[in-house]
Amino acid sequence: MTTHIQTSASGLTDDRPSASGLIVDRRELLAGAAALGLSTAFAGPALAADTPKKGGTLRLGMQGGSASDSLDPRTYADSIPIAYSCALWNLLVEIDAKGNATGELAESWEAKPGAVEWIFHLRKGVHFTSGKEFDADDAIYSINLHRGDTKSPAKDVLSPITDIKKIDASTLSITLSGGNADLPFVLSDYHLLMFPAGTTDFSKPDGTGAFTLETWEPGVRVVLKRKAGDYWKPGRGNFDFVEIRYIIDAAARTQALMTGQVDAVNRLDPKTTNLVMKNPNINVVRSRGTGNRYAFVAHRDTKPYDNADVMLGLKYGIDRQKIVDTVFSGFASLGNDHLIGPTNKYFATDLPQRPFDPDKAAFHFKKAGFSGPFDLEVSEGAYAGATDSAVLYQEALKKSGATLNVKRVSGDGYWSNVWLKSAFCAVYWGSRPTADLQLSQAFLSTAAWNDTNWKREDFDKIIIAARAELDDAKRKQMYIDAQKMISDDGGMICFAVSDYLDGYSKKVKGAEPHARYDLNDERIAEKGWFA
């Protein structure tokens, strides 16, 4: 099991803090892409029209960090630490723009049948800043930082690992407690940075990344300097300097980009993005359907939601487009009542998008003999815009003759007092690194965070089988079946999957959407260059 899910909203309405927390939003960024890839080739720089050039200082204006940020990977939870750590260090596995796992410090890997035992071949000739060459001992030490007695948030995703052995200086074997075809994705988790074995003082970075740390003023700025000589990834690490500025206020960030005080920003305010796009000097990069999944969840074992027709009525009765247009200013994809994002390779494209159909909803309500009132508990503590979404939901349901009471509850302790306990409430789920984690955490009968109380043995079986299935085509079909089951029968009304919105100055190249995180997987420092 990975991590707990609920956080406040992500970049889409990022300036509205959650009620329980304070100023800065946090988000769940543990997630990764969702495809199983056995690619062994290192994917070079993104396909861009022109070839990378060296030089210049990239100024990034970012939200997602604070004065409390550290250089200890076991404390990372937000964008800025990921951005600077990926410039200083490397992971074993990287995710490419399409969401496939590709090698980074691991050159290739293979799973023994059953996907319980894995062999990883490490890249040779890569050196730390200190001059030491990266080897298997470093990899084992770095992974073990997050295992056993540790504070690391990655402890849970690594818990299925039972043993890590060094085979030779550049080969590792990893043994799991059960089959899991997604292990490479697990190792792409941003916490699992590679340090020289024995590192205990993290405040003096010694990494294999393209940059060294020049200035360290968390909460203000972080300045990175390109290492002398060629970076081991060809075509990457082009900027002489990268300066990350903490700009928490969305308006200030946008302003800074438009006035040329920074070259790129993350988390554009969806409200002003359309206006920013009009600026001829600015390039807005939108990563569709990569953000959070927003939903209302009902307990399928509780009246009246135990009635399948009631559930269908509620699903047809919501005007998803209206919510996306107003609450998310259009910068979101429609949700289809399950948790797999539309860009995921296992996304059930054949499953039709559920429309807003008041007549059909009315039909189902009539069939069930119940059309409310439904009590929906919402709070801004669940996510920013939850109340607005619920109010819009209320308006839409009127058209199918159903009544919805929007009950606003306190944001404090929403996750411990309301979520999982209330029969009908607001929730959002962050993106997970794999389809397996995405679905099993929320929908397995045994899942601790099954917030719909939806329990089906056939579903459980599919998920467990898919986990160890190495045939991708078979696996895909299994996940499509699972999605259909959830969408048709589950208790979740997932109405939107948000987008990531980056703003770049036109002179910044290498700015592309990415399947995982914004700012080109938080790696624009390494991947970009100036025209």
């Binding site: 509205r16 409200k271 404090d412």
Partner: protein
């Protein structure tokens, strides 16, 4: 027409008119609005039109409607807060002055300490502890603000309690409560009233600042500070959406200040600067 035995000048009338209109809007305005408080009836930042006189806000809600609801919320919270802070501040301030001795020392030192911690930081911590719900918001600001009221109330009561009519009441054997309520309070009411206006403005702006930092009144309730914050980004694009709530805040504060200025000028002695030379 005379108020407090004086004829108000034009500015005071203006101030009273502004305050009265605002209060009426806060009380009855929501009955008249064409839209609901959180009803999204237009597009993001639609320009002013016949249907929406001041245009729409960041999620297409009618700004005028939000302003009217916001009047109730913003003025209401500031008013309740100020009333509470005055109740606490006056009671403790008068007690300190009338009882003197260790009670005075204790309360005064406590207030000194609280005053030496920045208000916003203190509010941040307290709101962090209890969460930013409206009752907590009101109690927190009222408590912190009452320290300021305490100082004024204590100083006023100190000056009054040495006066002979208070001594006469004490000689008669009147209790503390009677002395505070009947002898001191009525005579401190004018400066307290003008301070009330000033503190109201301060709380009003403070609630707005807290909303700006995300700690104030939570959505979907409309409040003017939050409205400025939510629409602030628009100003860079030449959109007027954040101007209206900011104007509303300013107008209300100016109105109260005009009244307070006049009240203070009644209290003030004529100054030598006005003498015929």
């Amino acid at each position: 027409m005379k108020i407090f035995g004086h004829k108000p000048p034009f500015t005071a009338w203006l101030g009273m008119t502004i305050v009265t209109v605002n209060l009426l809007v806060a009380l009855f305005g929501p009955l008249l609005t064409p839209y609901g408080e959180s009803q999204s009836a237009g597009g993001t930042w639609d320009p002013p039109s016949v249907a929406m006189w001041l245009g729409a806000d960041q999620i297409g809600r009618d700004i005028l409607t939000r302003l009217i609801y916001g009047a109730r919320m913003t003025i209401g919270v500031a008013l309740v807060t100020t009333v509470l802070s005055f109740l606490m501040g006056i009671t403790t301030g008068f007690l300190a002055a009338v009882l003197g001795g260790w009670v005075d020392q204790l309360l005064s030192r406590l207030v000194d300490i609280i005053l030496s911690i920045p208000l916003l930081i203190f509010a941040l911590i307290i709101l962090g502890v209890f969460g930013p719900t409206i009752p907590v918001l009101i109690l927190t600001i009222a408590f912190l603000d009452s320290t300021r009221v305490f100082r004024l109330a204590r100083a006023l009561a100190m000056n009054l309690s040495v006066l002979e009519f208070v001594e006469a009441a004490r000689l008669r054997g009147e209790g503390i409560w009677w002395i505070m309520r009947r002898e001191i309070l009525p005579n401190a009411s004018a400066p307290l009233f003008s301070e009330f206006g000033l503190r109201f403005c301060f709380n009003f702006l403070f609630v707005a600042a807290l909303s700006f930092l995300g700690l104030g009144i939570q959505p979907p309730y409309a409040d003017w500070g939050g409205m400025v914050k939510d629409n602030a980004a628009a100003i860079s694009f030449g959109i007027f959406a954040p101007i209206w709530p900011a104007l509303a805040i300013s107008l209300m504060t100016v109105g109260v200040n005009l009244v307070v200025d006049w009240l203070l000028s009644i209290e003030a002695r004529p100054s030598g600067a006005q003498a015929e030379l």
